[in-house]
Symmetry: C2
C-alpha cells in the first residue's frame, strides 16, 4: 500500500510529505518533499498556540491548514505518483500531556481535495487511555531499527529532541522513549530562521554558568515517560536567555550545547549503543560534534544511513502509523507514552 505521511512540527517550518510504500513490515520511502509555511501562516499558527485568541481564528485556521495540507500532498503525488491513504499529523496548537491535546488541519478538507482517505488526530486516543499522547514515533522506530544483538537508540532532533531506546532483542513493550529537552527550537528562536551549519554557535562562546543553570532543570533528571513542548522552550525561555545580556552568538553556542548535553544525559544510561539520528538537527555539525564528544562509547549515524531519509523520518512515521490504523492495529507503545493499553490511533475520514 502506498501511503502519504504528512508532518508539521512545532518548529513551524512547514509541511513535510513522505510517500511510503508499505508491504507488511517492509517500509520503503518513495519520495519526500517539504512545503514551507508562508510567514502569514506561521504567524497565524503562533497566534493561536497557547495564547489568548479567538475561537473564530482557530476554526478558520483549521480549515485553512486543511487546504494547505491537501495542496502539499497533491504536489507530492504529482511528483511521486498516487497514494491510497494519507496520515496527517496536523499542527499542534496545544498539548497538555496526559490531559488533552489539540491538533488542527481539517481532515475532511484534505480528503475532499485529494479523494484519498485520511487518518488524523493521532494523539488523542493515547491520552484517553491515560498516556501522554506522545511520543508516537517509537512504534515506528521499533519497526525500523530494532536489532537482535545491539541496543538501538533513535534520536530525532526537531524543535524538541526525543529518543527511542530499543535494547538488543527486546519486545516492543520494553522500548523506552521520551523527550530529552530542546532540539532546535531555542537555537532557531535566538537566530531565526535557524543557525545554518551551526556557524553562529561556532563563533560564540559557551557560557558555562548559564549552561549549568539551565541543566539544573529537574526535567532532565525526571524518569520517563515525560514530554516537553513549546510551553517549556518557547518565548518565555528565550526571553530568559536574552535577559542575561550575553551576545547572541554566545547564547546560540550555549543553547546548542544544551541540546547536545541533554540528549547525552538521556542516552548515556543505555551504555554501548548505536545512536541513529534524524530531524533538522543532524544538519547542525555543532550539535553532532558535541554529541560525539559527550558520548564516546556510542556509534552515531543518521537514519539516512539506515535507508530512511533523516529529514523525512517523522513524515514517514505518520504514513506508517496511518497504515497501522487502516489495518486496525494498535500503534502506541504504552511503555513510551504511559498509556494503560495499546490503542488504535487516530480517526479515519474516507
Amino acid at each position: 500500500m502506498r501511503v502519504a505521511g504528512v508532518m508539521s512540527g512545532t518548529s513551524l517550518d512547514g509541511i513535510d510529505v513522505a510517500i511510503v510504500e508499505i508491504a507488511g513490515r517492509r517500509i520503503e520511502t518513495v519520495g519526500f518533499q517539504s512545503t514551507p509555511y508562508s510567514a502569514a501562516t506561521r504567524a497565524a499558527i503562533l497566534a493561536v498556540s497557547d495564547a489568548a485568541t479567538h475561537t473564530s481564528a482557530i476554526s478558520r485556521l483549521n480549515f485553512q491548514l486543511g487546504e494547505l495540507y491537501a495542496r502539499a500532498v497533491l504536489r507530492a503525488v504529482r511528483r511521486f505518483g498516487p497514494v491510497k491513504l494519507i496520515g496527517c499529523h496536523g499542527q499542534t496548537i496545544y498539548h497538555e500531556g496526559a490531559k488533552n491535546t489539540l491538533q488542527i488541519g481539517e481532515a475532511a478538507v484534505i480528503a475532499e481535495r485529494t479523494g484519498v482517505p485520511v487518518v488524523s488526530n493521532f494523539r488523542a486516543r493515547d491520552i484517553a487511555a491515560g498516556g501522554q499522547g506522545a511520543p508516537l514515533v517509537p512504534y515506528v522506530d521499533y519497526l525500523l531499527f530494532r536489532h537482535p544483538k545491539r541496543t538501538r537508540i533513535a534520536l530525532n532532533i526537531g524543535g524538541i529532541a526525543n529518543i527511542t531506546a530499543i535494547p538488543a532483542g527486546v519486545a516492543a513493550n520494553k522500548v523506552v522513549a521520551f523527550d530529552t529537552g530542546p532540539g532546535n527550537m531555542v537555537i532557531d528562536a535566538l537566530a531565526p530562521p535557524y543557525d545554518r551549519g551551526g556557524r553562529i554557535a561556532a563563533r560564540g562562546r559557551v557560557n558555562t554558568a548559564l549552561l549549568d543553570e539551565l541543566l539544573a532543570d529537574s526535567y532532565y533528571r525526571r524518569k520517563a515517560p515525560k514530554s516537553a513542548g513549546r510551553e517549556q522552550y518557547g518565548a518565555a525561555f528565550v526571553a530568559r536567555l536574552n535577559k542575561t545580556g550575553l551576545p547572541m552568538e554566545d547564547l546560540v553556542a550555549t543553547a546548542t550545547v544544551l541540546t547536545a548535553a541533554t540528549i547525552a544525559l538521556a542516552v548515556r544510561p543505555f551504555g554501548l549503543a548505536d545512536l541513529i539520528a534524524s530531524g533538522g538537527g543532524v544538519h547542525n555539525p555543532q550539535i553532532m560534534a558535541h554529541l560525539a564528544g559527550f558520548l564516546p562509547d556510542v556509534a552515531i549515524s543518521t537514519s539516512t544511513d539506515h535507508g530512511i531519509d533523516a529529514d523525512a523520518k517523522e513524515a514517514v512515521a505518520f504514513a506508517v502509523l496511518a497504515y497501522e490504523t487502516w489495518r486496525g492495529r494498535p500503534a502506541n507503545l504504552p511503555s513510551a507514552t504511559g498509556a494503560c493499553r495499546a490503542v488504535v490511533l487516530g480517526t479515519l475520514t474516507v
Copy 2:
C-alpha cells in the same frame, strides 16, 4: 445495528442520547435520555463560543466534553442495552457557514470509555464540498417521512424553527430545507426559562401592529437556502420588543404568533401537505393552535405520531447519520446544504 445518537444543541441544555435500532431503512427508537449540562459546563462552553478565549480552554473543554458525552452514552446504555456505534454531533463553538465550523467533544475519549466506535465531526466534510455544513437532518427526514403520494414537511421547532419539504415521490435531490425564523428562542428570552404550556401567551393579547412590523422582515420572503441564528433573534431582537413598553404577556403572545406565522409562510407554498412537527415547540399548544389556524389545508401531526419521539428526533438523526457513514454512504443533501456533491459525513474513531 443498534446505534446511539448524541446531540447537544446551541441552546446548551445538555446532552440528548437516543438509542436507535437500524435495519436497512427501518429505524426504531429504543430509548431516549437527556443529561443536562451543569451550570459550570454551560458557562465553560459559552466562554469559548465565538469570544475571546484561550486555546488551552478549548483543548481542555474538548476532552472534558468527551468525558461527559461518554458518561451520557453509558447512562443510556445501562438503561436501554448496548450499542454497536455512536454518532456524536459534539458542541458547536463556531460556525461560519460554507467557510468553517468547529464542534468539540473528543471522540477518542468517547470511544475509549465506551469501547464503541464513534462517528463525529459531521459538518466539516459538507463545508469542504462547498456546502453550509447545515442543515444535515433533512437527509434523515427524507428517509423517515417521504411518501409516494403525499407532500411531507418535517418541522423542527427548537430555538430556531426549520422545515424539510419533501414533495410527493421526489428524489432526495429535490428536497428543500431551510430555517423559517424564530422557534422558541424569542419566547424563552421574554419569559425564561420558557412559556410552559403556552400559558403566558394565552393570557396576553397579540399586538397586530407589532406583529405586522416584525413580519415585514425580508428574511421571510427570501428564497432558500437560508439560515437564521442567535445573531437574528438574540438579545438585540428581544431588546427591541421590550422597548415597545407592551406588557410581557402581550409580547409573548405576539412572539408566539410570529413563530407560527413565519412557519406558515414557509409551509403554505407547498400546498396540501402533511406537517410533521418535532422539537420543544410541539409542547406549546399556543404555537400548535396558531399553526393549525394559519394552515387549514395542512394535516398537522408530531413525529411521535410517526414513531419518532418529538424530543428525541435530532439525536435519532445523528444515530442515523453515523450509520450511513459506517456503511460508507453519503448523507448530506446538496439541495439543502448547497454542497457541490453528496459526501460521506464525519470521521470514524474505532
